[in-house]
Structures are given as C-alpha cells and as structure tokens.
C-alpha cells in the first residue's frame, strides 16, 4: 500500500464528485473535509465512487456499542455502584481501557433494592456485562449484569487463590474453603475449557 497521507481537522481532502464521505470526515460547500487528525483511507467499496475516511490507527478501533457483551475488571466499589475498566469487547481486546459503571439496580434482575454491591463484586474481579448506554461526556459507559449469563467469571479469594463457583451467588476458595458472595455468571458449556 502506498504511504498514507496524514491530515488534521479542517484539511480539505477532495470534492464530493470524487469520493463518498465515510467516517471521520464531513461535507461542506461540496467539498469533503477531515474532522479527525490521522491517516486518510480511500477504499473502493464496489460502488461507483471510492469511500474516503480518516482513521487514527491503520486498523479501525472497535468501540463498545449498546447491547455488546464486554469483559471488564472491577476497580472500585461503592454502596451505590461499581466502577470497572472495560478490557474486551466480545472477544477482541481493546488498546485503551474504557471506564464503565455498574449501578446497584443493574446488578440483578430480581430484588433490585436488596442488592449489596459488596456481596456482588469485589475489586479485581473479572465480570461479563452488557452495555446499556454510552453515557454522555462526563459519565462512563453504563453496564448491566442483570442476566443469568452475565456476572463474575474470575474472582480471587481473600487468601489469594482463584475461587470456584458453587451457585449463582456464592464462590468458594479451594485453599481455605471459605465461601464468599458474588453475582456469578452462568457461562455457557461450550465456552468452558476441559
């Protein structure tokens, strides 16, 4: 591929007669301008005109979308919500960590007011969750675990060993045999390794 051209927001790329606008560009007065700082990408999609778009990296970043299943790590908990870092969207790892919030009401589907965050998540747990909202500028992604298949997948006990799930709300440490409360995910059998 020929070396890609760099551009900054406001650069005039071409006229609307030459290309169809893609992502990262906008149209004004019959010309296509860049709205991102990055590389110009022209693709022939099979239609009459090539599609022109501006991307930050050569591969397109996968962003969590509403309804996507994400894998995240709990960073802090609070009586009202838990803060998480989103690590994977589906099965693709993300380059940057996005921040997410799981509110107390979104942890379970039943008995929402009796949920205690301390008995559902702890800092350091790996959780499967679903995105319900992208949030605005200041707030993070809003996530939910209110389904049987969502919840804590990997958790470590206070003694440091990885715990084994017993039922949907308890996990047990194999070393000290103490039980701890978590909102456990029911992982589908085909995803479990032997």
């Amino acid at each position: 591929m020929s070396p890609m051209k760099l551009c900054v927001p406001g650069d005039k790329l071409c006229s609307t007669d030459d290309c169809i606008p893609g992502t990262g560009v906008y149209m004004r007065h019959g010309y296509i301008f860049s709205s991102l700082a990055g590389y110009v990408l022209k693709k022939n999609e099979g239609e009459e005109l090539p599609v022109i778009s501006v991307v930050r990296e050569t591969e397109t970043q996968l962003l969590p979308d509403v309804g996507a299943i994400v894998t995240c790590k709990v960073t802090s908990i609070n009586p009202r919500f838990a803060k998480v870092h989103i690590l994977y969207v589906g099965s693709t790892p993300l380059k940057d960590r996005f921040r997410g919030t799981i509110r107390k009401e979104d942890v379970r589907a039943t008995e929402k007011d009796k949920v205690e965050t301390y008995k559902s998540f702890r800092p350091g747990d790996i959780v499967l969750a679903k995105v319900i909202s992208l949030g605005d500028v200041q707030s993070n992604y809003l996530l939910t675990t209110a389904e049987n298949e969502l919840g804590v997948v990997v958790a470590h006990s206070e003694a440091g060993a990885q715990m084994v799930p017993i039922n949907w709300c308890e996990m047990q440490c194999p070393r000290t045999h103490t039980k701890e409360f978590r909102k456990v995910a029911r992982v589908q059998p085909e995803y479990l390794h032997a």
Binding site: I77, P79, T117, Y118, P123, A159, R175, T176, H177, T178
Partner: protein, 244 residues
Amino acid sequence: MESCLKVKVGAVLLPGDVFTFIKTDTISLTESLKEEKIICGPGLQRNGDDVVVCKSGVLRHKNPNLYWVDSQQRRYVPVKGESVIGIVTTKSGDVFKVDVGGSEQASLSYLAFEGATKRNRPNVQVGDLVYAQFLIANKDMEPELVCIDSSGRANGLGVFGAGGLLFKGSLGLVRRLLMPQNEILKDLEKLYPCELVLGMNGRLWVRAATVQKTLIVANLLESSENMSAQQRRTLFKRVADGNL
C-alpha cells in the same frame, strides 16, 4: 488431630506456626477413628489440610471444639456490627465524617439518628463524641456508621460526652471489660459510682462525680490491663482507703 491443638492451649503462638493433621501413617488398631471438626476463630486460618496461625498470642479453647488466638492489639480495624466511640471531624452535605481510629474516617448520615428527618436535623457539632454501630465495614469500601438499630430506635447509641474524659486503651482491655461477669467492673462499682462508655475501637469514656474521681477511675482502668488479679485488688483497696 485435635490433640495437637489441645496440647498447646495456653501456650504462646507466633504467626507461621503450622498444625498439620497426619492422616494415614499411624492408625491405631484399638481406638476407633472419629470424625473431628475444629472451628477456627480469630487468628487461625485453614490452609489446605493444615491450620496456620496468623496472629501472635495465646491459644484459647472453648468447648466443644472452638479454638482461637487471644492477641494484644491497639490498632482498630472496623468490623460490621461493632459499637465504637467516634469523634465527629467534619460536616459535609448530608453526611458527618467520624474518626474511629481506623485507617479511614467513617461516614455517618444525618438521617441515621432517632427521630431525624430532612427537616429535623440532629444536633451534632464538630468535635462531639458519638457512640455508633458499623453498618458497612470491609476493606474495599468506606466504613459507614449508624446511630439507630434496625427497628429505628436509638437504644443507647447517639451523641454523648459532656463533662467526662475520653482515653485510649488496648482492644483486649475493652473486650475484657465487656465480658458479662468481669471482676474489674465489679470492683469498680464498689469504689465510686460512675458512668462508663466502652468503644470496641479501644476508646473508653468515664464520668464520675468530681474531676478528681474521674481521673482516678481512668488511671485505674488503664493500669488494670497489665496487672494480675491480686495486684489489682490491692490497688483498688488502697484507693478505697483514700491512700493514693
């Protein structure tokens, strides 16, 4: 199995001491194998098949099968359900910040007092002493206190403290004073009438009829931690006779 723990009751243990339970090698043909269950209390932890000591102290035993380590400690770690004496440090928004002697300040909501509503705010100032109970206390979240019990009544909790003396003892001293039939308090009752508030965070508050009597009671309690029963009785007798 249990015999190796029973032998050590009353002995001083250090963190890292391990009690292994040898299973198969020496099975006696004459005694029958019994299934024994041991309950590990504070200071003991199960590690696979062994019991490991986590805190230094004296091993204690209570029938039928409860073992724990009695340790001396002055630093308090918040535990849910314990009643403590706290000092109000700031008022911010709907919440008071209270110092309980732990690693973090605990929060106490305006509405967690008896008869408190959004219009009827409780009369609590910065620097007041409160006797409160932990609602949330774990290593991952900020501790939270309340001054009411689950039915909404104060039950002895709340603001107190005009005219008394607050001093600090060890956690073991407070636990001994809180035992149902302990002798220190019985001897103290005979001495002077006084008001006493004991917080599980090692803080004690005393008020007696005069300032001098308050100071005497405070000193007696502090020193009775390290004295044997006999020494304590002679000291109390000296005070009662007025010879201090």
